[in-house]
Structures are given as structure tokens and as C-alpha cells.
């Protein structure tokens, strides 16, 4: 499956990546190559095969409903690029 520029643009937007005009062809070609590699699996008939989501055939453990965490705001916000009054700041969110 060959990818065109508009598809690259669409995927890049979904992934919140910017692909410049200059890179666009190169990116499209590279991804097309990868998709060609991936498409080898289409040669096998898997109609009757159950998908395997996880190598472990076990079930989810359950956690007791207990508050185990304390306030770490100061320590954690020290990692953030921009904060004010205990909030993480970002360019204005338009709903």
C-alpha cells in the first residue's frame, strides 16, 4: 500500500507530529516501504485464527480500594515546563 502526501498529513496530525513539505516525500516513501514489509502477512489465511493480544494467558489482578498516595505536587511540578498556582499551564484550550 503506497501512501500519498495527504495521508501522511492526516496521520501526522492524528499523532500530533509536523511533517514539513520538504520531508513529506521522504516520509511517505519510508512509511510505504514499511507497509510493504508489513503486508507480507496478508499472504496467510488467518480466518479461523483467534487473535493473541497478549503473550500471557492470565487474568487481571484486582487492587483493594485504598488511598495509598499522598500529595506530591511540589515535587512533581518541579518537572513541568510551566506551572502557576498548582496548575500546569498550556496555551489556551478552546473547547
Amino acid at each position: 500500500m503506497a501512501l500519498d502526501k495527504s495521508e501522511v498529513e492526516k496521520i501526522a496530525h492524528l499523532a500530533r507530529l509536523r511533517v514539513s513539505e520538504a520531508e513529506s516525500d521522504e516520509v511517505a516513501n519510508r512509511i510505504t516501504d514499511i507497509l510493504t514489509l508489513i503486508d507480507q502477512m496478508q499472504s496467510v489465511d488467518t480466518d479461523s485464527v483467534e487473535p493473541l493480544a497478549h503473550p500471557l494467558d492470565v487474568v487481571q489482578r484486582l487492587r483493594k480500594d485504598k488511598v495509598t498516595e499522598t500529595d506530591q505536587r511540589e515535587k512533581l511540578q518541579a518537572l513541568a515546563p510551566d506551572t502557576q498556582d498548582g496548575l500546569f499551564l498550556v496555551p489556551v484550550v478552546i473547547e
Binding site: 480500594d65 500546569f88 499551564l89
Partner: protein, 476 residues
């Protein structure tokens, strides 16, 4: 053209677990921003989700309460989208294998009609944080205290055909959730939120029309108004030969209109796939039966029981079971007071009026159930009349004394002494010769006037039954 409305509701309810869905952070409402957001909630690299068993139990509780199929195997999926209040860039939810499958709710409409409304599914997912738009030098502030709080998303079948039905469905859902004690379900605080999917079609048409989705409506009344407004908008467009665009809209309650929330975003593509950090949840019959055995008596069952056990009318019973607290209050009053009918009248009448006036929940009532029961007991045993009881009730609001103390102190005890009543009756007969004559001439209804005169003379304390009997005796 005659139109028919088709509505489906998606209701998000915050489950009242102590800790978050996938982390041990507190879920308390109203704390300082980001003080309840730990390293997982902030999606720090390397952190992983661990599932809270209480959220599962609450979801199953809800499923059983609406007679739903319970998913023996439920699977979490990632729903991918970017938003600053969604730290991981995906929401953990359940797509193909929800914990709660098909069920239904019986609702009673204002005209007394009953309707069964299907619930397609209910799934467990994480809440997002909040974006605050106050001025932060042209920036938005992100608070992640709410990020990761468990939600149950309850999706109805598109079987709702009017705003009234939508509200009845929501109220019933609210009642059940409160009975189950799985959420505060307070719309004003966001612990219950509603998205409404609306389409209209010409009556007789079997294909559904194009729908719009109105997001995040935060009161029952606004749901009703938003539906009315949106249905009208769609009708106008279609009648003018236009086309409805499938989109998300918001309801502006001040202007009573809906408007498009269309952003620059191309069509959403959430790229769901099974959450690899979590494994499938499996539950067996023993688990389900254990949860079932802990279910409280639910409103429908309670209502039926109230009708048969206490001989209440259908209407009174529905009012009394509308909240678990009111039903419990009523039962205490009925049992301790000794008369269910009087208890029902007081709880749905004077007490409700009092609570409405002071904007209180029944759990905050200034008169607790035991005291109201003593009042009922005194009406029942003729110590006071129903009318005097209202005076006592008024006094009880601010006066912590017992009902008997109030009656005693204010001298409100009903006059049942036959000597006193005899004096009263004689006085009335002497003062009203015309009416007495009319009665004697066969004008039966005059007796009411004469009893009234006697009651007035006694300042309401005379026992009206006794007065009536004695009057008739004396006028023979």
C-alpha cells in the same frame, strides 16, 4: 409534516470509590489542584495502571440492578486522542467487552404511563482532568485531580421519544444509582453528566435521521429544554429542505439554544485497541451472586411492597420511593407512628414542603423520623387533632423538646372530657337557635356549621367526633 423524535442518552456517572480507577490517589472532590494526582495520574514515563476492584463491584451492582447481562470477561481498550486534561494521550475504557451488557429501566411518565427503556451497555472508564480558563497570562491551567476517577458510562437504546421520557429515564437512573450507593450522582457537581443524541424523522419512517450529540448537560431541566430546542431546530432545517449535519453541539442555557462545537479537528479517529498494560477481567457466577446478595431493595420492588404492605396509593408510593432516604424515613415513621396512611400524608405533605422551603435533603431534616413518628402516634391516639398537629409540627422545627412535652407545655391536648364537651355543646345550641331549628327541620348539613362553632370555642382542642355525637343527642 408530523415528526417523531428519537433520543439516545449517554450518562457518565462518577463511581464513589475512595481511590482512583488505576492508582491509589484520593478521589475527594474539591481539593487544591493537582494535590490528588500521583505519578501514574500524571502519566510519568514507566508508570502502569492497576485496576481498582471496587469499581468493578459497583459496575456489576449497577448491571444487576437493571437486570443486565454481566460480562464474564471484560476487556479494557485505549481510546487515543490528544487533550491537555488527558495525560496519557489515551483514555482507558471498554469498547467491545463492557462489564455491563444489555439491560433495561422501567420509567413512569407524568401521565402515569409506564415505559421500559433499554440500556445498551454500561462500561468502566477513566475520567479526564479539568482545564481552567481563568486568566493565567493568556494560558489555560490544567488540574488533574479528577483524571483517573472511575466513571460508569451508561448508554441507552435509541428508544426515548420525547424530552419527558428522557427526563423520566434520567431520574430513574439517578434514583437507582443513589439506591445502590455507587455515586453521588450530583449533576451540578459533574458526578453525573449527560450527553444527548437526537434525531428526528417523519412519522412512519423506519430509517433513523441524522443525529446530533449535545454534550455535557448538567441538570435534568436543561436536558428537557435542550431537547425541545434541538428538536425545533432540526424540524426547521428539515422543513426548509435543509440537511442535518452529524456533529457535536453544546447547549447554552441562558440563550436556550444549541450551537456547534465543531473545531478544526478532522473527524475523530480514536484508534481503539486492547490496553496491553491490563489483562482481561474475568468474573464467575459466585462473584456475581455475592454482589447480587448485597443489593438493596430497589425502588420498583419497594414501591410494590409499600402499596401492598401499607395500602398506599400508587402515586404516594412512587413519591416515597423516589429516594432511598425518603423511603427509609417513611418506613420509620409508619412503623413507630402506627399509621402508614397518616405517615405517608405527613412525609409527602408537610415535611416535604418544609424541606423544599429550606432547600434541605431529607437526611438533613430538622425533624427526624422518630420525632415525626411520635407526632403521628399522638394523632392516632386522639391526643391531638390533625389540625393541632400542624401547630406542634411547626414548633418542633426549632424546639428540640419531645412531642409530648410540646403538647403539654402549650396546652394543646385535645379536649375529650365529656363534661367540658357538654358545656361547649350547650353553649353552641344556646347561641345558634336558628341553625338548631333548621337541623331539627331536617337540614342535615347544618351540623357541620355547629361542630365548627364548637371547635372554634375550644380553640381547636375539642374532639370533633365527640362534639358531633353530643350535638345530635342534644338536638333530638
Amino acid at each position: 409534516m408530523e415528526w417523531e423524535t428519537v433520543i439516545g442518552l449517554e450518562v457518565h456517572v462518577s463511581l464513589s470509590t475512595k481511590s482512583k480507577l488505576f492508582s491509589g490517589s484520593d478521589t475527594k472532590f474539591g481539593s487544591e489542584p493537582n494535590t490528588q494526582a500521583n505519578i501514574f495520574d500524571l502519566a510519568l514515563p514507566g508508570t502502569l495502571p492497576v485496576f481498582n476492584e471496587e469499581a468493578l463491584r459497583m459496575a456489576v451492582r449497577f448491571g444487576l440492578a437493571i437486570g443486565a447481562e454481566i460480562g464474564k470477561r471484560s476487556v479494557f481498550d485505549r481510546k487515543n486522542y490528544f487533550y491537555p486534561d488527558l495525560p496519557k494521550g489515551y483514555q482507558i475504557t471498554q469498547l467491545d467487552f463492557p462489564t455491563v451488557g444489555k439491560g433495561s429501566l422501567n420509567v413512569t411518565l407524568d401521565d402515569g404511563r409506564e415505559k421500559k427503556i433499554g440500556v445498551t451497555r454500561a462500561h468502566i472508564e477513566e475520567n479526564a482532568g479539568k482545564s481552567l480558563h481563568e486568566e493565567f497570562s493568556g494560558m489555560s491551567g490544567i488540574d488533574l485531580n479528577r483524571a483517573g476517577v472511575p466513571l460508569l458510562e451508561i448508554v441507552s437504546e435509541p428508544e426515548i421519544t420525547s424530552a419527558d421520557e428522557a427526563v423520566a429515564y434520567l431520574k430513574k437512573l439517578h434514583t437507582i444509582i443513589r439506591y445502590l450507593d455507587i455515586s453521588d450522582a450530583i449533576m451540578a457537581l459533574g458526578s453525573m453528566r449527560c450527553d444527548v443524541n437526537i434525531s428526528i424523522r417523519p412519522i412512519g419512517e423506519t430509517e433513523l435521521g441524522t443525529r446530533t450529540e449535545i454534550k455535557n448537560i448538567n441538570s435534568f431541566r436543561f436536558v428537557e429544554k435542550a431537547i425541545h430546542t434541538e428538536v425545533l431546530r432540526q424540524q426547521e432545517i428539515l422543513e426548509d429542505g435543509g440537511r442535518i449535519i452529524q456533529e457535536t453541539r453544546r447547549y447554552d442555557s441562558e440563550r436556550d439554544e444549541t450551537s456547534s462545537m465543531r473545531s478544526k479537528e478532522v473527524a475523530n479517529d480514536y484508534r481503539y485497541f486492547p490496553e496491553p498494560d491490563l489483562l482481561p477481567i474475568e468474573i464467575d457466577d459466585d462473584y456475581i451472586e455475592a454482589v447480587r446478595s448485597e443489593l438493596p431493595e430497589l425502588p420498583d420492588a419497594k414501591k410494590t411492597r409499600f402499596c401492598t404492605e401499607y395500602k398506599l396509593s400508587d402515586y404516594d408510593a412512587s413519591v416515597l420511593v423516589s429516594t432511598r432516604e425518603m423511603a427509609e424515613y417513611f418506613e420509620t415513621v409508619a412503623q413507630e407512628g402506627g399509621d402508614a396512611k397518616i405517615a405517608s400524608n405527613w412525609v409527602t405533605g408537610d415535611l416535604q414542603a418544609l424541606l423544599n422551603k429550606s432547600n434541605l435533603e431529607i437526611s438533613e431534616s430538622p425533624i427526624e423520623a422518630g420525632r415525626l413518628a411520635s407526632l403521628i402516634a399522638r394523632i392516632k391516639d386522639n391526643t391531638i387533632s390533625g389540625k393541632i398537629a400542624k401547630t406542634v409540627f411547626e414548633t418542633m422545627i426549632d424546639n428540640p423538646a419531645t412531642v409530648d412535652e410540646i403538647i403539654e407545655e402549650k396546652g394543646l391536648k385535645q379536649v375529650t372530657d365529656s363534661g367540658e364537651i357538654k358545656n361547649l355543646v350547650e353553649e353552641v345550641i344556646a347561641n345558634n337557635p336558628d341553625q338548631v331549628q333548621q337541623f331539627k327541620d331536617g337540614k342535615e348539613q347544618v351540623i357541620g356549621y355547629l361542630v365548627g362553632q364548637a371547635m372554634q370555642l375550644s380553640k381547636g382542642k375539642a374532639n370533633p367526633g365527640q362534639v358531633n355525637t353530643l350535638l345530635r343527642d342534644k338536638m333530638k
